[in-house]
């Protein structure tokens, strides 16, 4: 099982794509991310990350979503 390349969204390189596998957060965070379409099994592309632990922008379905760095650390992604 260790050949799966799991990484947090925060550490993922811009330009890479992957699939959300888990959100390691409380009920509130999971709900808010889900509401924006970020749910386990969803394919995402990381577009950019701002300097100094700034927000991360991803593409999910056909919209872009900006996510704070702390939240992005809690989103586990399996790289394509």
């Amino acid at each position: 099982m260790y050949d799966r390349k799991l990484i947090t969204l925060a550490r993922m390189q811009p330009g890479r794509s992957g699939v959300v596998v888990q959100i390691q957060g409380g009920h509130g965070l999971v709900n808010r991310l889900n509401a924006l379409g970020i749910i386990p099994g969803k394919k995402i592309i990381k577009i950019s990350s701002m300097l100094m632990r700034g927000p991360i922008t991803i593409q999910v379905d056909r919209v872009q979503v900006a996510i704070g760095f702390g939240m992005a650390k809690k989103i586990m992604v399996e790289l394509d």
Binding site: L33, M50, A66
Partner: protein, 568 residues
């Protein structure tokens, strides 16, 4: 009967609302434009029904004030029009399923339908309708396409018989619906998508932001100054001045009534800035000094809003805003505040926590001068030289940052993280933009001008009664000692509670030095909100927090003014 327009943020509910009711509301291309509800009326068959534009929400489990309002509204509706973004059906359908579970008769408007074709999205309408069990009408709200069908289908709204699901079950249902009704054809990146990506990357995004903000500032000044120099000043000086002078003679060139209506006439001339009568300063300040900048500012702001640039600015500035106890999206109330602080304080509803709303509202009221005050700063301080205008802006910016850092440190709690949807760039529709500009300019005219005229009357009466003299001697230690202003300047601070533009105008006849004008402008901007902002702050923050906020304002204004007086 009451119809509610419910849907995710930024799907076009406000545009559909305007189409249905003919009531024009501000619509923009960013999530959270609508933060309170607007009501209007429309005809369904023979019946007149109430329609309500509800703030956008992603789920029925609210995460901010605007979403809580949406949820409260939902329990009062008889029919729901669920506005759905056709280019992002996956995410929108979650709310649709939640709404179906509420058992309120419903119609779905599949908006932005025209966008699906060139984005390679194919939606099987028949199947979608079958899955949802309610009418589904494709619409293009900005052009009006599909609105007629939507109206015709309102009486056919069907009471859904959906079972209540858990969130996981809902997402699974959304997945299976999408698999069967939506087909995506792959296509290449368009230039606007490349620009979208470049706008949120650190290097290119920074360059774009600087270019956008710099050109916005230059365009506002250019339009504002041109309107003043080529349209308003000539009309006032060549057409209006002779008429006022004639009336002045008819009224005997002096006396109490004359001074209220015409103002003080010095050496046979009407001075539009200094005379302080209803027909002189009372009209010149709002129409010839402020209105041009209101038009210029809202034209540029409207353009940025409709293109969809503002959420990108929020991403770029997020790190800085966190230092001030806010997150990037607080830039939206801040920018709105540069127009008028009232909608800015209301717009803090898009922020998640009470703490953030308090900090954002306080910072806006203190350090973000409204367009009316800015116009006067350009007009009066600008005469002394551009560098003094720069000092005023520089000071307010430093205050904004410093006070934000202090508030972030002092106010208990932490700043939540940014989590926002970034809308695609759209080409603005000129008609919609001009309508929005008119809505805002009209708002200024009907709300500001009565207060300006009222303020002029109040000023004359207070002068006549000698009230200002009493206040001036009482406050002289602070005004003269601490701020280095003549004692009469306190009249401006008092009138600042009514209108800040008029108040700054009151400094004009005092023959202040450039330094004193700078101190006066800064203190006036920070000291206390105008009455309109005060009322909104009171409502949005509550009495206790409003008092705290006011305490911060007064002390910050006196400290900043005192420091400026010492170092300039």
């Amino acid at each position: 009967m009451k119809i509610l327009l419910v849907g995710n943020p930024n799907v076009g509910k406000s545009v559909i609302f305007s189409r249905l009711t003919g009531v024009h509301v501000i619509a923009s291309n960013y999530p959270g434009t609508t933060v309170s509800y607007t009501r209007g009326f429309m005809k369904v068959g023979e019946e007149t029904v109430e329609v309500i534009d509800v703030p956008g929400t992603y789920t029925l489990e609210p995460t901010c004030e605007a979403e809580e309002i949406a949820l409260r509204m939902l329990n009062t509706g008889d029919i729901v029009i669920n506005v759905v973004n056709a280019i992002n059906l996956e995410r929108n359908l979650y709310l649709t399923l939640q709404l179906l579970e509420k058992h309120i008769p419903m119609v779905v408007a599949l908006n932005l339908w025209d966008d699906t074709k060139h984005r390679g999205i194919d939606i099987d309408l028949g199947k979608l309708k079958a899955f949802l069990g309610v009418p589904v009408i494709p619409t293009v709200a900005v052009t009006g396409q599909g609105i007629k069908e939507l109206v015709e289908n309102i009486p056919q709204a069907i009471l859904p018989d959906a079972v209540v699901r858990t969130p996981d079950e809902r997402w699974a249902t959304v997945g299976s619906i999408i698999d069967q009704v939506q087909h995506i054809t792959h296509r290449h990146h368009t230039w606007s998508e490349r620009l979208e990506d470049a706008s949120v990357k650190p290097l290119t995004g920074g360059i774009i932001a600087l270019a956008v903000l710099a050109s916005a500032f230059l365009v506002v000044r250019f339009i504002g100054e041109s309107l003043i120099a080529y349209v308003l000043d000539p009309s006032f000086n060549n057409l209006w001045a002779p008429a006022v002078l004639k009336l002045s003679h008819l009224m005997g060139s002096g006396g109490f009534l004359h001074d209220i209506v015409i103002g003080k006439v010095v050496t046979g001339e009407v001075n539009f800035v200094e005379s302080f009568g209803l027909l002189s300063t009372g009209l010149y300040v709002p129409f010839a000094m402020v209105l041009p900048y209101i038009i210029a500012f809202y034209l540029v702001l409207g353009l940025l809003e409709d293109i969809g640039y503002l959420p990108r600015l929020a991403v770029l500035l997020d790190t800085i805003m966190h230092r001030l106890g806010l997150h990037g999206y607080a830039i939206i109330p801040t920018l709105l505040g540069l127009g008028c602080n009232v909608p800015a304080v209301l717009a803090t509803r898009i922020l998640e926590s009470k703490r953030e709303r308090f900090i954002a509202a306080t910072l806006v009221s203190i350090a973000v001068p409204c367009a009316a005050l800015q116009a006067m700063i350009f007009g009066l301080v600008g005469q002394q030289g551009v560098q003094y205008v720069a000092i005023v802006y520089g000071t307010l910016f430093v205050v904004w940052i410093t006070l934000g850092i202090i508030l972030n440190y002092v106010v208990k709690g932490f700043s939540p993280e940014l989590l926002i949807e970034i809308p695609p760039y759209r080409l603005p529709q000129w008609q919609a933009m001009l309508k929005k500009l008119w809505l805002r300019v009209y708002g200024f005219l009907v709300e500001a001008i009565p207060i300006v005229l009222g303020a002029v009357v109040v000023i004359n009466i207070l002068y006549f009664l000698g009230v200002f003299n009493a206040i001036a001697s009482f406050t002289a230690p602070v005004v003269t000692g601490l701020l280095g202003l003549p004692r009469e300047a306190v009249t401006a601070l008092v009138i600042g509670f009514l209108r800040k533009d008029v108040a700054l105008g009151m400094l004009a006849p005092l023959a202040l030095s450039a330094k004193q004008l700078v101190v006066g402008s800064v203190v006036l901007a920070m000291f206390f909100p105008c009455i309109a902002t005060f009322v909104v702050l009171l409502r949005e923050l509550g009495v206790v927090n409003m008092l705290k906020s006011a305490g911060v304002m007064i002390s910050a204004a006196l400290i900043t003014g005192g420091i400026l007086n010492l170092i300039l």
